[in-house]
């Protein structure tokens, strides 16, 4: 286990201008998750591959029920019954230890409880979707920090643990005296901040943020996100940021993955996905958020409604709602495939077998020329 370092860690290398080159810290490969067994089973996550790189913010977007939480909870083995992982691997690459040439990589899906305990919270932490319930209501915030540090930082004295708690709360924009509060005495925004502080307590390399701000007001949401991104820049953790709000992700993430009915539909750098989506569902989703500027124009959203996982359409699950669906889409299921040299990926038949790509899905990719959200942040 890594030793406690001083609060300001080694300055993070600005890797995210070229995130594609940064090394992976978490790799999800061929992940499959069902709810229930046998013929009753619902396939909530199907053949999902994700790579999270050091220092990167990876956005996972998708509508309610698309499987975002299931995917991330399965990846760290926090899935609740009747969820079952039916296949895949989740490789966690810890920071290499100097002088040790053995491969420290761990497959979380095959790790035993002891290994998992070592990794969870210290290396990979989670801010749950329902953070309001994630804090223990019967002990103070301070006592919760204390418990966590006692287990994972046994060399710290009681007063050092308290100081560390104060430091953590201050990091997320709260005052240290809040350590004496119970969670019900805090506003929603403060509870969410306390959760983030708790997730940061052991300086993890990866943070999974499942809709961390969805229940909050936009102003509070923005304050928390600004703090979070500042901390990311300072501490250098990688983040898997899950939300249904694609417009928010575009501002925040380096790279975005779009999920629909348990499958990944598209993966691209944030600016590319926003300016030049390649998959009809992404295109539709982007047109579900009315713009804040410019002329007001009628927008259509997406016809139909998201599918029921118990009765998924054949072929591409999106085909009944897709304006460009072809015969093939009704029969065969497309898989996430690399599109071109850019490294972006799409699961859509329009991009293979000589199909004509509609103009809407062939817009010029801003590629590396446009500054990503991350480089803009750094420039600030």
């Amino acid at each position: 286990m890594s030793e406690m370092s001083p609060p300001a860690l080694a300055p993070r290398t600005p890797t995210h201008s070229s995130t594609r080159e940064a090394e992976p810290v978490l790799e999800i490969r061929g992940l499959n998750v069902d709810y229930g067994f046998g013929t009753e089973a619902v396939h909530a996550v199907v053949d999902c591959d994700l790579v999270l790189r050091r220092g990167q913010v990876l956005g996972l977007a998708g509508e309610s029920g698309s499987g975002k939480s299931t995917l991330s909870m399965a990846a760290i083995r926090l899935l609740r019954s009747p969820g079952v992982i039916t296949g895949g691997e989740v490789l966690f690459h810890p920071r290499p230890v100097e002088g040790d040439s053995s491969d420290p990589t761990i497959d979380l899906l095959r790790a035993d409880e002891a290994e998992l305990r070592r990794v969870r919270w210290s290396e990979i932490s989670v801010v749950f979707q329902s953070a309001l319930n994630a804090l223990n209501p019967v002990i103070t915030i301070g006592a919760q920090f204390d418990d966590l540090l006692k287990v994972h930082r046994p060399h710290l004295s009681s007063s050092e643990r308290w100081d560390r708690g104060v430091e953590l709360l201050e990091m997320v924009g709260m005052t240290g005296d809040r350590l004496r509060s119970y969670s019900h005495e805090l506003s929603g925004g403060m509870r969410q901040r306390a959760m983030i502080a708790m997730a940061l307590a052991l300086e993890p390399q990866v943070m999974i943020l499942d809709e961390p701000t969805t229940a909050l007001d936009v102003v509070t949401q923005r304050e928390i996100l600004e703090e979070l991104m500042g901390l990311r820049d300072r501490l250098g953790f990688a983040a898997l940021f899950i939300t249904h709000d694609l417009s928010l992700l575009v501002e925040l993430a380096d790279e975005i993955v779009v999920m629909y009915a348990g499958r990944l539909m598209e993966r691209a750098p944030a600016a590319s996905l926003f300016r030049a989506p390649r998959v009809p569902y992404t295109y539709g989703l982007l047109h579900c958020f009315p713009p804040m500027h410019g002329e007001r124009k009628p927008m259509e959203g997406i016809p139909g409604s998201p599918p029921d996982l118990r009765a998924l359409p054949s072929g591409c699950s999106f085909h009944p709602r897709c304006p460009w669906a072809m015969e093939r889409c009704r029969k065969e299921t497309p898989v996430l495939t690399r599109l071109d040299a850019s490294g972006r990926e799409a699961a859509c038949w329009l991009h293979s077998g000589g199909a004509t790509v509609p103009a809407e899905l062939a817009m010029v990719d801003p590629g590396d020329r446009g500054p990503s959200a991350a480089t803009r942040r750094v420039a600030r």
Binding site: S187, G189, V218, V219, R222, L246, P290, M292, H293, R296
Partner: protein, 379 residues
């Protein structure tokens, strides 16, 4: 589709409003303090709000959670009675209570479509019920029900009449809830966060339906939301609330393109906007204030980056800053006229608000509240 270019371009004409709230005020008694003997305190949920809804327009009411939007909508629907101010229909004050004739003209649509649909009855029954209560069905109830379903774009209607609410998707349920509100042929529709609980991809469908009802049927619509981008999309006028008060009113595009009030500016600076060229810098900070002991003067002053001495002592007046555009802020007042209230006046005002007697028994609890909502929206 109905949000025509013309609709979007023409600023709302000032026609006589169908429904108006003047000086609406509502307070709730809440437990306050801690320990074994918590006292009760008065929470000013809505304080002196004036809002007008005209036929053929959508007025959006936006603001943070707890700013009083739902309370305003409920007062307009007469689900709860105001403690101060009046509701006017066609310019005439509506008496206390909720006469049936009022319910026929003013209908409310809720965030959770389950709240207004009876889960144990089929869609047809849910729609027939208000028709028979109000003796509106005519000879052919089936035809009336199918016509309603067509109006909310549930086609073919026969496919829906025999279903139960739980057999429909969220968007379809909300359409049925709207159809049910339309069954009594109201002139005003009060929609409280009608899309917040729906999947992102189907929200626009419901907003477009509301736009259709405005354009085709000339309904006056109140659209309550915390999503300012959707308000800009749908509404002709946006009204911004902060801590129980209206701070700014303007034609939609004007409000989002040229916000005048510092709170509106803060709200816009925080809203997600992928087109933003620069990372946003928040135009203000801090959390919304307590409604039990609201800040003196301008309620926004503790968070306002422009706050001046007068802001903490005296409430700002409503200032017209453009066509159809009003903002309550001292910044719009000529410097020489920013005269603080005399301390005695400040004290008098404070005590007068806290001494106002309740006009109606305070509502008891939210569960009871909800039942009342359903019952009353039926009548």
């Amino acid at each position: 589709m109905s949000l025509t270019a013309q609709q979007a371009a023409v600023p709302p004409v000032s026609v006589a409003p169908v429904l108006e709230g003047r000086g609406l005020t509502k307070y709730f008694s809440v437990k306050h303090g801690r320990g074994i003997f918590p006292g009760t305190a008065r929470l000013f949920a809505v304080d002196d709000v004036t809002i007008a809804l005209a036929a053929g327009t959508v007025t959006a009411l936006v603001g943070e959670s707890g700013s009083g939007k739902t309370t305003v909508a409920r007062m307009l629907a007469k689900i709860i009675n105001p403690d101060g101010g009046a509701v006017l229909l066609d310019g005439k004050p509506v008496p206390h209570g909720r006469p049936r004739s009022y319910a026929r003209q003013v209908q409310m649509v809720f965030q959770d479509p389950f709240a207004s649909l009876n889960p144990i009855h089929r869609i047809s029954y849910n729609l027939v019920r208000p028709l028979t209560i109000h003796h509106l069905g005519g000879d052919d109830l089936n035809e009336a029900v199918e016509e309603l379903l067509r109006r909310v774009a549930l086609e073919p209607p026969q496919q829906y009449t025999r279903k139960f609410p739980h057999e429909l998707s969220g968007g379809q349920r909300q359409r049925v809830a709207i159809a049910r509100a339309l069954s009594v042929r109201p002139r005003v529709l009060l929609a409280d966060e009608p899309v917040s609980m729906l999947d992102v991809s189907i929200r626009l469908g419901i907003l477009n339906l509301l736009a259709d009802l405005r354009d085709r049927d000339h309904l006056a619509i109140l659209y309550v939301t915390h999503d300012i981008a959707s308000a800009r999309y749908l509404a002709d006028t946006i009204v911004v609330m902060y801590a129980g008060q209206v701070v700014e009113t303007a034609p939609s595009e004007r409000l989002t393109d040229h916000p005048a009030h510092p709170y509106t500016q803060l709200l816009l600076s925080a809203a997600p906007d992928p087109d933003r060229a620069e990372p946003p810098s928040l135009a203000g900070s801090g959390a919304p204030p307590s409604l039990i002991t609201p800040p003196s003067g301008c309620r926004f002053h503790p968070r306002c980056p422009h706050a001046m001495a007068i802001c903490s002592t005296t409430a700002p007046p409503s200032v017209t800053v453009g066509p159809g555009h009003a903002s309550n802020c001292w910044l719009h007042v000529d410097e020489s006229r920013r005269v603080p209230d005399h301390p005695d006046v400040v004290a008098a005002k404070a005590s007068s608000t806290s001494l106002r007697p309740p006009a109606a028994p305070p509502p008891i609890g939210t569960t009871q509240m909800r039942r009342t909502e359903e019952d009353r929206s039926m009548e």
